[in-house]
């Protein structure tokens, strides 16, 4: 099933009237048309102390909404419990989701560190959110490895890590359109959803914790 994607008023949100429409499909990850398909969010989306930084060339981030349907798969959580992904995602909390693997040395340390910062910034709201990191290297990333990784990033109880069979993990990546053939090819993506049945907000690129926090707040306070 192909998710329907619509660009949410980027021009409005970032004061960039006339920005080219960006459909960040698979081709974006293949390195084609990159310049056309990226918006710079660092110019004003953030709300925190770092939002004023001048942007760096590739800290370009696209956001869009998409209707992904959560696949009916079972995964194994970092505490070794087998759980259903829909149940985990429909536990009443908004979801912030990404995909990682523990042997990843370039991209994942950035995205995981950003999640760690986001967790800190959430402060008292932390436990109202469910942060989900799913490995894309399931055979290597056992629950034990994932829980060691969780400790490295000081993950609290609202941030859980998941592995599973190769088939289940593949289904998860396909469902959220982040599958690029193999783990070395993966790109930073964060997905947010306020509640079951609602659309997902998909953010491609290295969004900062500030930006994620801003997006999260907007999403949960949306009327």
């Amino acid at each position: 099933m192909r998710p329907i994607r619509t660009m949410l008023g980027i021009a409005l949100a970032f004061g960039m009237a006339g920005a080219p429409a960006a459909y960040a499909g698979d081709e974006m990850h293949m390195g084609m048309n990159m310049d056309m398909s990226h918006m710079d969010m660092s110019g004003g989306a953030g709300t925190g102390p770092h939002a004023h930084h001048h942007h760096m060339e590739q800290q370009k981030v696209t956001r869009m909404t998409a209707d992904y349907s959560v696949p009916q798969i079972r995964l194994v959580r970092d505490d070794n419990r087998t759980v259903s992904l829909p149940d985990e995602m429909n536990d009443g909390r908004p979801v912030i989701l990404n995909f990682i693997y523990t042997a990843c040395t370039a991209v994942c340390p950035v995205t995981s560190r950003t999640f760690e910062q986001l967790q800190d910034m959430l402060g008292n709201d932390r436990d109202k959110v469910h942060m989900i990191s799913i490995t894309i290297d399931p055979e290597q990333d056992t629950p034990e490895r994932l829980s060691a990784y969780a400790r490295k990033y000081d993950a609290k109880s609202q941030w859980r890590f998941y592995t599973g069979s190769s088939e289940a993990i593949l289904a998860a990546q396909r469902a959220f359109d982040v599958y690029h053939g193999d783990k070395m090819n993966h790109a930073p993506v964060t997905l947010l959803r306020a509640a079951p049945g609602q659309s997902w907000l998909r953010i491609d690129g290295f969004a900062s914790a500030d930006e994620l926090l801003g997006e999260y707040r907007k999403l949960v306070h949306a009327p």
Partner: protein, 535 residues
């Protein structure tokens, strides 16, 4: 063409193991993220997404070769001196530096000053700001000097085993290898090399002087068969001498018995990539870089079986293992033992003499197995001589790898009762993938003596050939290993394995297995007794 390849000189470097120079300060900084002061290297990024120590080490992105890589749409450029201190390459035909994916085509040459600025402040030689993924590093002048000196020499030594017209490879055979297997493996390797070279002579030259074509037509592959002899303590030295006499670029496949550690050490110490598809008892040291195995072999079976025993519904109090002294089962049994002892189970190991009548297994079983789970680390000869009547025990486990997989000759009454570890894909599921090697064996009249071993060897050759083709003429040993890591995960033709995959710190490409039972009274049918398990 001679001038174009002149840079690839064939001189054997003094190998690290024999004149181990203390790692230079620049190397420690690059690979471990430690400053000359011993403090961790720190890299900063906007919004405090900082890195420290090993996570900041250049190696984690630019890789050990310094030739970079790619993650998603993030291209990580090469940063060896040969790239940095000359203007960016204009095109792929430039033969003076190895071709790599991430080279930056239009950058001016760096100087020591602009390079220091790039590393500290993220501004490249042309004043362009480097992207977010590249951290900005705090380095004092002394540390910067060490680092730049390291980058200047990184991956610029002559490459052994590569001459203007020949690529040299070796395969390693230890003296305890079964002679039939040895011949079976060599028949595959020799045929593969012959194919490769006939393709070269076959007139595939075109008028296109593209770099790719030049690479393909100019070098033939030569195989050196390194047969070791004498006691294992002498093997590393023997290999060192062979390497000195006949420099090779990489080792492709090999066969061994119970002792593989000296060969593993050789690969690691000399910095020779060793692609090892058929080692049933490999060395588990996944932070070593150069030896790459298809599977943990019998040690993977030990993990599978331990896990089955731990998860039995009524937990056994006692486990009895039977193996032959001096065979690889001894090591597997030790692994099971150390996994089950902490669980409070009693583990009894029975070592049969190295050689002896197979019939003795029956009486040993009868005397020792009462009330015990039984694990058999035995070869087909011993399994065929098991008593017809199954002993009254809670469960029997058999090593598939040692016992002959689906061809295992256990007596009828054992077939559907014994649980066999099976660290491969199931026969029905691998059938289509196996068409490729099977047809190739047939076309070349290669007798199939050991299907798994021979198809694994064929697979390893294919992986090597494809990786080298994709590297064009970038003959750099470290880069070969880095590219194999990536190539393996892309492979669709994976022979006996459902999938393969590697990453930095992962040196066993297939990571799981099934538990199976043999089906029916005889023949080679089996049924899965579990899903694919990654223990």
């Amino acid at each position: 063409m001679r001038t174009l390849t002149a840079l690839i000189v064939v001189v054997l470097l003094v190998p690290g193991a024999w004149a181990a120079p203390a790692a230079s300060r620049g190397e420690v900084l690059y690979r471990q993220g430690l400053l000359p002061t011993g403090e961790p290297l720190r890299g900063t990024r906007e919004a405090d997404v900082n890195v420290e120590g090993a996570a900041a080490a250049c190696v984690s992105c630019h890789r050990r070769s310094g030739l970079g890589s790619q993650e998603g749409r993030y291209i990580i450029p090469p940063i060896i001196g040969r790239y940095l201190f000359r203007p960016g390459l204009r095109n792929i035909e430039d033969m003076n530096v190895p071709h790599v994916e991430g080279y930056r085509p239009n950058r001016s040459a760096y100087t020591d000053e602009t390079l220091a600025r790039a590393i500290r402040d993220g501004i490249d030689a042309d004043g362009r700001e480097l992207n977010y993924l590249m951290p900005r590093f705090k380095l004092d002048d002394a540390a910067m000097k060490d680092l730049i000196a390291y980058l200047r020499q990184l991956t610029s030594q002559p490459v052994p085993g590569v001459t203007e017209d020949t690529l040299h490879f070796a395969t390693i055979i230890t003296p305890d290898t079964d002679p039939a297997k040895r011949q079976a493996m060599l028949s595959v390797l020799e045929q593969f090399f012959a194919d490769k070279n006939s393709f070269i002579r076959g007139g595939h030259r075109t008028m296109h002087a593209s770099r790719e074509i030049m690479y393909r037509v100019t070098r033939q592959w030569k195989l050196h068969v390194w047969e070791l002899n004498g006691p294992p303590e002498t093997w590393e030295q023997q290999l060192h001498e062979r390497l000195t006499a006949e420099p090779v670029f990489a080792v492709i496949s090999g066969l061994g018995g119970k002792t593989w550690a000296p060969v593993h050490r050789f690969c690691e110490h000399e910095g020779v990539p060793c692609l090892l598809p058929n080692i049933d008892l490999p060395v588990v040291a996944e932070n070593d870089f150069y030896p790459v195995y298809f599977s943990k072999g019998i040690l993977l079976e030990a993990q599978l079986i331990s896990r089955q025993i731990r998860e039995m519904e009524s937990r056994p109090r006692k486990v009895t293992q039977i193996f032959r002294r001096g065979d690889i089962g001894e090591d597997a049994a030790a692994a099971v033992r150390s996994s089950l002892l902490p669980e409070g189970m009693q583990v009894q190991d029975i070592a049969l003499p190295e050689s002896g009548l197979p019939q003795m297994v029956g009486s040993v079983l009868k005397d020792n197995s009462a009330g015990s789970v039984v694990v058999l680390w035995l070869r087909p000869g011993d399994l065929a001589a098991l008593p017809e009547a199954l002993p009254q025990v809670p469960s029997v486990f058999i090593s598939g790898l040692m016992g002959g997989l689906e061809h295992s000759p256990v007596p009828t009454s054992w077939r559907e009762a014994a649980h066999m570890s099976y660290p491969f894909d199931l026969p029905d599921q691998r059938r289509i993938r196996m068409n490729f090697p099977s047809i190739w064996f047939k076309v070349h009249n290669i007798p199939v003596v050991d299907e798994r071993m021979q198809s694994d060897t064929y697979l390893a050759c294919g992986i090597l050939a494809e990786t080298l083709a994709e590297m064009l003429d970038s003959f750099v040993r470290d880069y070969l290993v880095e590219r194999v890591e990536i190539m393996l995960s892309h492979r669709v033709i994976t022979g006996y394995y459902p999938r393969l995959g590697l990453a930095p710190g992962q040196r066993f490409a297939s990571k799981g297995g099934y538990m199976v039972k043999l089906a029916g009274k005889e023949g080679n049918r089996l049924v899965a007794d579990s899903n694919w398990i990654v223990p």
